[in-house]
């Protein structure tokens, strides 16, 4: 060490405790907010937090903390941070970590742990957090000394945010939180740099360029990676230049504007019929940050079977995982497209695009508008119009989630926040709280179900206490609707344990939390309901009663081929057909 450095070290580095070092390291890395819940093994950390600049939101259950961190991360692209105590505090965030890992959401969890000397002794509130989180984290560490706090914190932040983002967890024993160290400046990470440096572009760039230029019926298949890598302008440029229709996964919604004429909306199990048909017919399909998962390519041998398959992904392990591709590029999507786009020949929209437009007209989303009752699809369609398609939509998991994806075709990236890979009921309310803190002025609307909302309903208190004006829509169908749908279609209407027999009065629940609420039952109350929802300045609940037999259509059953698609006609309703091509509103 040079003399200069040594001197500066001696003069500048006052001793700090581990908790302080971690908080300062978080702040130095531009982390401003966190969510958490205190307890014995994390108290020194909370003590240091009290007068720090790191803003902390107290939740009502640790699962709420991790989902809020996820919602914030998904809405902003920044790191979401959550803090819990050891034992039950740590186990309560497992679902959220698994969810974030699946959906490549950058989240850092800091968990308290019993003192190092007690580890392994079954001490009070001890669990093997490190061991339990191995499969659901991208990076995890158990701290043993205050000297390592700055380095491990920096590594955890860097890994969570780099490449394909993911989860980091730092298990922080109580004695290390109070242990003193001067080792926190100019810290070097100890991980090979290919884990966090932007990867080079590897693979068949030229092959892909010529495939695009030669293709007659190309399709872009856009996933969550397109949002992570901020590749929207490049995707738009490519789609428009070569006149390529775009289908999106649930996670990719918003990467390409849902109201663009080349957008076909979502594909897969509950995708639009025309998106799935386009994939059936295309001669080139290019996966952009998408992973051919089973809700998209239910039957891998049937998926895009006439097409040359190409894939660009930052995670090489996603290439040839479920579906073998003919052309691959492993790279940051944005950079790969920047390299590809200049070599793409400009095309005018030809027979393929007109075929696609015809598909849209002939196979719109459709439902029976009913008589006087509220159809969830229609409500969402009205919500879309009323908010001009600009609200940030957060969902829970179930039918309401799929209807939201279909009938609220978001226009912007980071505008649709949902639990995709894990499908976690209870994600919605805390995620909406986190998202709202992330986006500021923009309205954040949670679409939930009577089942899902009850999985983390305690977070209403968090919204109230911190004045976070999330707007909550509860579609109340008295059922676990998606379960009911499967039971009706695949289990001969044996509705085993899917009825929500003792739903609470959601209006009274809201009142108990000192929040405003309103219930609407009839179609002609929608306008009034939406006004209530959108004009309220505090968190509020709009309960929307919907018929329990309403189903999400179209549906390609799990693992089935496209031909087995079930659509609205299945219900034999003789009613009042309402059709929407949501991307041509």
């Amino acid at each position: 060490m040079s003399k200069e450095k040594k001197d500066s070290k001696l003069s500048n580095n006052i001793e700090k405790n581990g908790a302080r070092i971690m908080i300062d390291t978080l702040l130095e890395n531009n982390i401003e907010v966190c969510w958490g819940y205190p307890g014995g093994a994390i108290l020194p950390f909370y003590d240091a937090l009290m007068h720090s600049k790191l803003k902390h939101y107290l939740v009502r259950h640790e699962q709420g903390a991790v989902h809020a961190a996820q919602g914030y991360a998904r809405a902003t692209g920044k790191l979401g941070v959550c803090i819990t105590t050891s034992g039950p505090g740590a186990t309560n965030i497992m679902t959220g970590l698994a969810d974030a890992k699946m959906d490549s959401t950058p989240v850092l969890a800091v968990t308290g742990q019993v003192a190092c000397a007690d580890i392994g002794s079954d001490a009070f509130q001890e669990v093997d957090t490190y061991g339990m989180t191995i499969p659901i984290t991208k990076y995890n560490a158990l701290l043993k000394s205050a000297d390592d706090v700055a380095r491990v914190t920096k590594e955890a932040i860097t890994i969570a945010l780099s490449g394909r983002p993911g989860t980091s967890l730092i298990d922080f024993p109580k004695d290390v939180q109070v242990g003193l160290s001067t080792n926190y400046k100019n810290i070097k990470m100890r991980i090979p740099d290919y884990h966090f440096k932007n990867p080079p572009i590897e693979g068949d760039v030229d092959k892909l360029i010529s495939a695009i230029n030669k293709a007659e019926k190309p399709v872009l298949y856009v996933g969550g990676g397109a949002i992570t890598s901020n590749a929207y302008n490049e995707i738009k440029e490519l789609a428009e230049k070569a006149q390529i229709p775009v289908v999106s996964t649930l996670m990719g919604l918003g990467a390409f504007a849902g109201n663009h004429e080349l957008s076909l909306g979502m594909l897969g199990m509950h995708g639009t019929a025309y998106a799935n048909k386009a994939v059936m017919e295309c001669d080139l399909i290019i996966a952009l940050g998408a992973r051919f998962d089973d809700r998209v390519a239910g039957n891998t041998s049937d998926f895009a079977k006439k097409a040359i398959k190409a894939q660009i992904d930052i995670d090489p392990a996603e290439i040839d995982k479920r579906v073998f591709v003919d052309i691959y590029i492993s790279a940051n999507l944005k950079e790969a497209l920047k390299k590809i786009n200049p070599h793409i020949k400009k095309k005018t929209s030809g027979s393929w695009v007109s075929f696609i437009q015809k598909l849209k007209k002939e196979n719109p989303l459709k439902f029976d508008l009913g008589k006087g009752e509220i159809k969830p699809q229609y409500f969402l369609h009205e919500l879309y119009k009323k908010t001009k398609g600009d609200a940030v939509i957060v969902t829970d998991v179930g039918q309401h989630q799929m209807w939201s994806a279909q009938y609220y075709p978001v226009k912007h990236p980071r505008q649709f926040i949902t639990s995709g890979g894990l499908g976690t009921m209870g994600y919605g309310l805390p995620a909406a709280i986190g998202a709202k803190i992330g986006v500021g002025e923009k309205p954040v609307i949670l679409i939930s179900g009577d089942g899902s909302i009850q999985m983390n309903i305690q977070e209403l208190a968090t919204a109230k206490m911190h004045h976070i004006p999330v707007k909550i829509v509860i579609f109340n169908n008295g059922f676990l609707g998606m379960v009911r749908q499967w039971q009706e279609l695949f289990f001969e209407k044996r509705f085993s344990h899917s009825i929500m027999g003792y739903n609470p009065n959601f209006i009274k629940i809201a009142e108990a939390y000192d929040l405003k609420a309103k219930r609407i039952i009839k179609k002609d109350e929608i306008e009034e309901g939406l006004n209530f929802l959108l004009e309220n300045n505090d968190a509020c609940i709009l309960e929307v009663k919907i018929p329990c037999a309403e189903k999400v259509y179209p549906m390609i059953p799990a693992g089935a081929k496209y031909e087995s698609i079930i659509d609205y006609e299945h219900d034999n309703s003789k009613g009042n057909l309402f059709t929407v091509v949501p991307n041509n509103p």
Partner: protein, 166 residues
């Protein structure tokens, strides 16, 4: 087909759990795993023998690369390498069988480590195939106890076969 992967890892807390956890979680078939320090005390080599199709082995390599502690991976199947295992076994013997057993030990160039009137302890290190043969031959007698390591392997300095993956 069997592939021998030599995985250079950071030698720290939990690295073995991460590697073995990956195999259970993703359902990869693993024949053997052995781990030991290298000349650099901060690094270890984990030698894995996996029995999977080539495309799966590629997938395994890519998943391993994502582990933060992994520094590099070599598929030694694509190179010329020395592969070694060690086996120790104790065979039941009697006066009239002893001569025969000693003869076999000689044939295999194995080593006698201990001997009583009723048992002989033998060790042998060799490539996995010869170890298999050795065990098969000795199972004609009564094997009282046996322990066998996983494979460790290193590329020959003179290896000419190219490794295709970085």
């Amino acid at each position: 087909m069997k592939h021998t992967l030599s995985v250079l890892v950071k030698n720290h807390y939990g690295v073995l759990s991460h590697v073995s956890g990956l195999f259970t979680r993703r359902g990869y078939n693993i024949d053997s795993l052995s781990v030991g320090e290298t000349d650099n005390p901060e690094e270890s080599i984990i030698t894995l023998v996996v029995d999977e199709e080539p495309h799966m082995v590629l997938q395994i390599e890519k998943q391993l690369y994502k582990l933060v502690d992994v520094i590099s991976i070599e598929d030694l199947t694509k190179k010329e390498s020395l592969q070694r295992e060690l086996v120790i076994l104790t065979v039941k013997t009697s006066k009239d069988k002893r001569h025969e057993i000693l003869g076999l030990v000689d044939v295999f160039k194995a080593t006698i480590v201990d001997m009583t009137d009723s048992a002989i302890m033998i060790e042998m290190s060799s490539n996995p195939r010869r170890i298999d043969t050795f065990i098969r031959v000795f199972s004609e007698y009564t094997i009282l106890k046996m322990a066998r390591t996983g494979t460790i392997a290193l590329e020959f300095p003179s290896s000419k076969l190219e490794n295709t993956k970085k």
